[in-house]
């Protein structure tokens, strides 16, 4: 007898069917999803499908960026010890992942100069939703100030996240230079304001000098800053301009684009709010022998204990990608990150010059980080020339007024040849 037969026998059962005698006949199904395949056949089939993806010269960004990823990052997160473990519910035997997540919290807190970072959220946009909920828990106020140029997808997700709360959105505008309009924002802040969402770089792709001045007018509202983690290699960090909560999409930190998922939500905040915060937190303690030891802490905020009154429903998160982000930042170091951020700004500058030389101008003057907004809407030409880019502003925001504007984005991987090819292709149109 083989093992299965031995086990069935010990259960006094004859066949596998006996194990399912509690499932009424009328509920039984005959699943037919095809015959099993050999691994070789499987790989052949998948390769054939993947071969239909086309890789063009890319000027795509607006949240997801094609950055260079050191091989070591993939190597680290491919280690089975991390890859095939789960949430460290048994900390004594899971110190490796706990240590790695503690370091993630630390490195993101250092990058943002915020007090506390949780051990990961699903993605940038849902983190923004969670941040708005958190601000509401902190002050119970009902108005959320939101930039009028925010990506539609972000806005929709935030709306879904506050669906159950008694809150409303108030939009604030941008000045003629495409920067946050402090007067407009200031006139809308009042005693009911719960939080102010501030983006830097803003949704036009501009490094926004006014974003860092919101602290001067915020009154009692919480500032939620949405930042670009690479930009913090050179830009003043959110903690330095009094952000209460700092949120970002962490994909750029060593995570492949993968058509937009899985991603990594970076979620940091002031320590006063820790008991109102969502997500898992790793704390440092010691074991009974005095060794340094890590555990998940403040779990009483979470769903498995607090249930309907939990700070969030999040359970599985993006732990492995948090490890990738930490490895990425550690491999680059401070000088590496500063260089990549500077290269990005300089490439944007170069792109703007090249486009200007063929008569395509930016919508706003100013300093762009990765995303550059041009007066341009002839996407069909791009397609014909084999260039992926030209995301229309009106497709991804509610800014329907500016109809002829499109984004072209750069990273350190964007070459001079790519830019020349773009400019040549668009000459005369």
């Amino acid at each position: 007898m083989n093992d299965d037969e031995l086990m069935l026998k010990s259960l006094a059962m004859g066949t596998f069917d006996d194990l399912f005698s509690d499932i009424p006949e009328e509920l039984r199904v005959n699943m037919d999803i095809g015959k099993p395949l050999s691994e070789q056949k499987l790989i052949e089939k998948i390769k054939k499908i993947s071969g239909q993806n086309v890789n063009m010269v890319k000027f795509l960004g607006n949240g997801i960026y094609d950055r260079y990823i050191p091989h070591l990052v993939d190597e680290i997160i491919s280690r089975n010890e991390f890859l095939t473990s789960y949430t460290p519910y048994q900390p004594e035997i899971s110190q490796g992942i706990l240590n790695a997540l503690f370091e993630y919290q630390s490195v993101i807190s250092d990058l943002t100069e915020m007090d506390v970072t949780n051990s990961s959220m699903y993605d940038g946009f849902t983190s923004l939703g969670e941040a708005v909920r958190m601000a509401y828990r902190v002050n119970g106020k009902s108005e959320i100030l939101i930039p009028e140029n925010i990506y539609r997808a972000k806005y929709e997700i935030i709306k879904n996240y506050v669906y159950g709360l008694n809150v409303k959105f108030v939009e604030y505008g941008f000045n003629k230079n495409g920067l946050l309009d402090l007067d407009d924002l200031s006139s809308k802040i009042n005693d009911s304001t719960s939080s102010i969402i501030v983006e830097n770089p803003n949704a036009f792709g501009l490094i926004d000098e006014n974003a860092i001045r919101v602290r001067e007018i915020k009154k009692n509202a919480l500032i939620i800053t949405y930042y670009d983690p690479i930009s913090l290699g050179i830009l003043k960090p959110p903690g330095e301009y009094d952000s209460d909560i700092a949120i970002a999409e962490g994909q750029q930190l060593g995570i492949h684009m993968n058509m937009g998922g899985p991603l990594l939500g970076l979620f940091s905040f002031k320590k006063d709010y820790v008991h109102k915060s969502p997500g898992r937190l790793i704390g440092l303690s010691n074991d009974k022998n005095g060794n340094k030891a890590f555990v998940m802490t403040l779990q009483a905020r979470e769903q498995h204990i607090r249930r309907a009154k939990a700070m969030s429903n999040i359970c599985s998160n993006q732990a492995l990608l948090a490890v990738a982000a930490t490895a990425y930042l550690s491999i680059l170091g401070g000088s590496g990150l500063r260089n990549i951020a500077s290269i990005t700004v300089n490439k944007s500058k170069k792109l703007k010059e090249k486009m200007k030389s063929i008569g395509i101008n930016t919508v706003f003057d100013g300093i762009n980080f990765s995303d550059n907004l041009f007066h341009f809407d002839k996407i069909d030409i791009l397609k014909k020339k084999g260039i992926a880019g030209g995301i229309k502003l009106s497709d991804i925001t509610y800014m329907n007024g500016i109809t002829d504007a499109s984004f072209f984005s750069v990273t350190e991987k964007t070459s001079n040849e790519d830019m020349d090819y773009l400019a040549e292709s668009l000459r005369g149109f």
Partner: protein, 470 residues
Amino acid sequence: MYRQAHYDEDFLIDYNTGSDYLLEEENCDLPENMKRKSLKLPNLRSFDVSRHYTKLSEMNYSVDVGMYPLGSCTMKYNPKYNDYIASMETFTDVHPMDYGMNMQGSLEIMYNLQEYLKSISGMDCVTLQPSAGAHGEFTGILIVRKYFEMRNELNQRNEIIIPDSAHGTNPASASMAGFKVIEVPSDENGLIDLNALDAAVSENTAAFMITNPNTLGIFDDNILKIAEIIHKNGALLYYDGANFNAILGITTPGIMGFDIVHFNLHKTFATPHGGGGPGSGPVAVKSFLKDFLPVPVISKNEGGYFLDYNVKNTIGKVSSYYGSFAILLRAYSYILKNGNDLKKNTQKAVLNSNYMADQLRKYYTIPYKKLKKHEFVLSTENTGKRALDISKFILDYGIHSPTTYFPLIVKEAVMIEPTESSTKKEMDFYIDVMKKAAFMDSDAIKSYPINTSVGRIDEVKAARNLIMHW
């Protein structure tokens, strides 16, 4: 004997070997007030980064090392062909806002996965967008909300009923989406108490959220009656698909009468758990709820596959883009590879669970109905020892402990899910260790674990004296 590695490993920030990541020095012009003054990041050689993580990995237990029967988590083998497939640059390098014509391969994978999930669940339409099980629940409950909003019944239908055996994410998701949570007790068999359910259901009920088999690993054969009670009342029935590994190929939530289902691809469909994630939590609905799905769904016409934003009463978006593609891809290739043999995995998972339950019954109380599905829950109360102490003792043998203190309705609960991946030999060893634990001295057991990287941790100190930064 098991002995886990222990290193007194420095933090990354405490190395000072100097970054050797060669990049040409570059500066850019920024206004003075925007400039960062100082940046403190780790500064070490790549080799040191590599060693650091290699050491940490040796201090981490994983399913590739041994049994990991965490109940409700389905820690099965994660086939390596999936990781290879997910590393293909033709997939990893796709930008989410590229032209549809440039991502036909990825879209085909997603479309095919939607089709598979429909067949497997007996449902009609699928969204792949949610990032995990809890996110799928939240999405499903937003659909419930929108459905009643469109029917002008939302003001009245503001309650969601949940059994007391439910996972914490169920009430948390319902409450996040703005509903009041009503808990119903289980009956003496651990099943839904039909009388209690009847009493709880009212014109205020929007939905009933359950999993079947439930978190005790027991299949509720009253499910059609439950569906009738809920539907007669005009409410919806929600299926938490965390326990799908018990029914795949045998029955479906569709046929059981459920209206909304979420899957945990990282459980049933063998995608790696990654130390806590990323997972993926697609949601399937019956056709009358099709118009509420988040956008985009993946559709197909003469021109090929496309991101379809044409969903009439969509709840909008729940994730930044279209879902966790690299996870979806692994789940797809797992289903494609195994096909109808997936049913065999279910049978084996259920056999393993019943075998362990039957053997452990000699030493522990295993409440409720005898026949289990893919997992079961025992109580350590009869041994005079706490589930916590038993679970720490187990670790010392180089095996991961089960889930403890869940579900809440069993005192000193230990929830065991061996999955189809465990062999008889492994399980016999596990049973043996649990037997030893049952007979351990109640004081002596508190000194375990001994052979793990660290011993028992002062969790109170961690919470009182919060250190969350190096």
